[in-house]
Symmetry: C2
Subunit: 195 residues, 2 copies
Amino acid sequence: MVYPDRMKNHRAKKSPRLTPEIWADAALEAIEQGGLSSVAVEPLARLLGVTKGSFYWHFENRDALIRAAMRQWEKRAIHAIAEASRITDPRVRLRSLILSSADRTTAKLDLAVSLVAGDPRVRPFARRVDRRWLDWAEAAYREMGHTKTDAKHWALSAYSAYGGLIQILRLNPDILKSKRAWAQHARHVAGMLVP
Amino acid sequence: MVYPDRMKNHRAKKSPRLTPEIWADAALEAIEQGGLSSVAVEPLARLLGVTKGSFYWHFENRDALIRAAMRQWEKRAIHAIAEASRITDPRVRLRSLILSSADRTTAKLDLAVSLVAGDPRVRPFARRVDRRWLDWAEAAYREMGHTKTDAKHWALSAYSAYGGLIQILRLNPDILKSKRAWAQHARHVAGMLVP
DNA sequence: ACTTGTCAATACGGTAGCGTATGGTCTATC
DNA sequence: GATAGACCATACGCTACCGTATTGACAAGT
């Protein structure tokens, strides 16, 4: 993930050399690596093998790139939530959230976004996705027979545990390094959150 | 917390006009507000009512300030853990962690630090404090009769829940806005984490 | 072949922040 | 009250990045 090689995915020659989506993806990767301050026009351009002359053709300014990146992220997050909703059994469905902490792709990006969600340009996107996950979890708990307020508390607990865990594991990768320890902890959390 | 007024706390005339500790405090406040990129020499100097001529007398460079700020934070965090260890009943002790999520002073700073803990200058400090909290929780669970590995899982769960909750509440202050709802959720979490 | 529109390179000015060098001011102390 | 050291101001050069303006390359359609 570096390269001045823009020929990946064998883009048809007719299509533009760079698209706003490519820029947005690069911005998301930058956020994952170094936060919002890493979303800088010239460095990203170097990373993509072009100059900022390209950037300012596709975007109004830096803020517009950030917004586009967040739109892209929200879209994918919504899609992930929809995928996680297809599981019929609510208990299995909830467990899938816990298990997704181990996914070193979406979890890392979700975390990175939440880390920069203090910024007013990111906050509304993060809030909407938070809301959706909370609603998703609440629905699962309701299907399990909990009252509305009860389900809300369970949902908040579950989503908190999810977010907190991936953050701690990011900083302390030594904590659940063995697959065995991780599976054990996943069982523990499942037993705690899925009564 | 702003002003070119350096005469607060009625400092004796003999003492220096600014101390490294004051700079470190200002840096911590900046981290809380805008992350590491807000720890900038000239803006902080303006905030303190001086110029960077003062700063470079007290510190080698910007990195030295960041390190000093993190040392100060770690010191206080260790003190807070020691305070939280004085409670005799392990269950009450654990509940104190949950309740401290509501403390809008330490919790916010702890969160802000964890948000920038990806930076190599911050990471070691955050890791050490994480470790201490985990050990603290593990000890409590052991006192409650759990085995070592079991206590470790409980501790990780509890600390995850703590970190995740304050992060979500920061972004969604509307979620537990009423005192009643918060107390209810605290009871819920306590029931979940303190069996 | 000529034109048009798309995309990118180059060159430019502007700002914010880092770090240095040097000089100034106050205070304690003799 | 002269001096030394602690503390701060000012002025400077440097780099990184933002945004604009202009020009250039290249493809598609005519």
